[in-house]
């Protein structure tokens, strides 16, 4: 693995040092390959029995009819889903814009933080203070503070759009996380790379630009995507500002029908957009591992 000389990546960064090298497949299915037909048969049987038992237990519970009526009402679902998907477009807009801004802003923070030399101390301090502060604050708090606070200043030129302030808040919070991801990537580039670049006569800036960052960014793409999945889900927090996005639309339908099915419909939308991304991250990690095993001794 490639974190020699740097701090380990933040938890949940997607690069798992515990994985044995060469295990390219899923950890769920892997044990089966070594156990042969008998193992697979037992696994299939126990899986069927296990899930059947769960379904039977749930369906036969005394409250199941009520639950089905309140959470899985087909009629309400059919009415709710198109409306929710329509409003979910606003979530998509919010998180896409925020993601682009986060990529840029977090990079600035990470670079500030990895500047060397005493003269840059205040900048390093600023960047470190920023990431500490915004990782400490709950996202919903930042959204509420900006969304309700900033327009209330009633200053000329300050936008009153809730969507604007929601994007600002999400960018502020997630930049702190992503800056740490970038930093882990930057610090994971072996010092010999920097030394070689300097020896070739590249300036510090050019070393960063042409040697360190390309390697660092490629390495942190999987943990970066993990953070983006988090950001996408947190776009639902914008609902506290009164913007009718997916969650508020689901809530409105819930109160209209006195039925929780719209929440299930929204949950489905999130699952449908998130799972492909999670699989994509897994695929990236696997590809990355193959490449590094191919390239001798990074």
């Amino acid at each position: 693995m490639s974190y020699a000389g740097g701090t380990p990546p933040p938890a949940g960064s997607g690069v798992d040092p515990a994985l044995p090298d060469g295990d390219r497949g899923s950890r769920i299915l892997a044990p089966l390959r070594t156990e042969g037909v008998r193992g697979v048969t037992i696994a299939v049987l126990s899986t069927v029995v296990f899930f059947t038992a769960i379904v039977v237990a749930v369906v036969n519970s005394s409250g199941w009819t009520e639950i089905r009526g309140a959470f899985f009402d087909g009629e309400v679902f059919r009415e709710a889903l198109p409306k929710i998907v329509d409003r979910f477009g606003l979530n998509v807009f919010i998180f896409l814009v925020a993601e682009v801004l986060v990529l840029v802003f977090a990079m600035v923070l990470a670079i500030l933080r990895s500047l060397v030399g005493p003269v840059f101390f205040p900048l390093r301090l600023l960047a470190a203070g920023y990431t500490d502060l915004f990782r400490a604050l709950p996202t919903i708090l930042v959204i509420s503070l900006l969304g309700f606070g900033a327009p209330a200043l009633q200053l000329e030129g300050i936008p009153t759009s809730k969507v604007f302030w929601a994007i600002v808040a999400l960018t502020l919070v997630y930049s702190a996380y992503v800056a740490e991801v970038y930093r882990a990537g930057i610090e994971s580039v072996h010092p010999s790379q920097v030394a070689s670049a300097r020896a070739l006569g590249l300036s510090r800036r050019k070393t960063l630009r042409y040697v360190v960052l390309p390697q660092a960014v490629r390495r942190v793409i999987p943990p970066l995507l993990n953070d983006f999945i988090g950001l996408q889900k947190d776009s639902a927090l914008v609902s506290v500002l009164g913007v009718v996005e997916g969650l508020n639309q689901a809530t409105i339908l819930q109160f209209e029908n006195f039925d929780f099915t719209p929440f299930v419909a929204l949950a489905l939308v999130y699952v449908v957009i998130t799972i492909p991304q999670a699989r994509f991250v897994d695929w990236l990690i696997a590809r990355d591992r193959r490449r590094r095993q191919g390239a001798v001794g990074v």
Binding site: F71, F148, A152, T160, V243, I252, Q254, F258, D259
Partner: protein
Amino acid sequence: MRKLFVVLAATGLLFAACAEDDPTLGGDSGPTGATETGPTGTTAEASAASCAEANADAFQTAGTLTVGTGNPAFPPWWEGGESDGSEFEFNDPAKGEGYEGAVVAEVASRLGLSFPDAVSFVAVKFNESFAPGPKDFDFVIQQISYSPRRDEAVDFSESYYNVNQALVSTEGSSIAGATTVAELADAKLGAPIGTTSLEVIETVIQPSQDPAVYNDLALAVQDLKSGTIDGIIVDLPSAFFITAVQVPKGVVVGQFETESQEYFAMSFETGSSLVECVNLALQEMKADGTLDAIEQEWLADKTNAPVLT
């Protein structure tokens, strides 16, 4: 007294066969509806009380009426201020003040339960009132509007207040002087989420801008003050509360008339046999003018506003 009611109820039973079921009470009136038609000079008080007596085991807690409402308890529906030791903010419902407070107190005493000793209040989030599963209240009273679709998930009482929705704005706003619905076409409007107020924006006004929705009326008021939105749609009495207390420069622009009269109803768990008893109590209160008197006392100056056409 209790014994007398039982006797009256039993007498009434003999005549139950020839009594017409009141359609508003649902089909099966059982022993409870009978006293109404009894020839023994049954007082109005007896029917609701005997219904409660006959359905004593339907209460969540025997001998106590447990009432759910929202926390904070907003005026003018609840008044009287907070009490030490009560979880409720703004107003303590157990004081029985404010329109809904007075209605609960009156309904309880007509069910034969003394207020406030035999009445307890629990804070209920709006969506708890219709979530499946065991309930910890007998009914919820929280400015909940009846609608046929909601009626599929819960059981509603009859109307305890016929309500109109109204528009609140601020002095100097572009819509403060509006007299027609058409003038609101370009306004940025807000409403508490999940309310019929929001439906007024979407179905009656249909403005070009998306409405803002709020989990809490206080947040809507905050945005009205900061000018983020031009106006709030709320029920008329709440509109007068907002302009009187929360937004000094607020104005009630007008009220909306809808095709079918909107009304507030108490919300019960489906199948609760107490619906009938509370309906009886409400009918008695309407018949003898008590409900009007309660409205006079708590909402008298809060229902006059020009109608937006």
